[in-house]
Symmetry: C2
Subunit: 102 residues, 2 copies
Amino acid sequence: MAIQHTVVFRLVHEPGSHEESAFLATARDVLASIPGVEDFTVSRQISPKSDLVWQFSMSFADQSGYDAYNSHPGHVGFVESRWVPEVASFQEYDFVGLDGGC
Amino acid sequence: MAIQHTVVFRLVHEPGSHEESAFLATARDVLASIPGVEDFTVSRQISPKSDLVWQFSMSFADQSGYDAYNSHPGHVGFVESRWVPEVASFQEYDFVGLDGGC
């Protein structure tokens, strides 16, 4: 059962700043290379109905892949060293399609 | 610029109820057939970090397709007759990928 793991977030950095770009680039480098992570994407969230402006999305083939990601040192280290100090607000959602799709 | 329009929500109905199934089926029938709607999917939201338990996702080729959907009588009628009375809570997000993907 494939799982799409997503997080929508807002950084403490100024939009368009070097710090913003550096955070997104490091996240991609670190997280997308963790075994089991598929289809890692970075998107802008553009609806004015939310003040969260970025999204990371990735897919796992099954729950065991998701669990392995959560406990992987690359993920744990990224959360501690970058996510906690640089993210102002966020919301996680995990999706399982009823009918295929993303 | 393709836009992924999403809404995460919770119904007033009991999980597994006929009313829940009917809502999801009607939404698919009505919304997925509106011109410009692509890749309409229904997903379960399974993270315990949110109390919203369903997601609709659809894509539009550009902003004009999204605008046409919003003002289409099928969408307006569904919102008035089904969404407002049957949805307990929801959050919209719209995504534009930086690097392709869903």
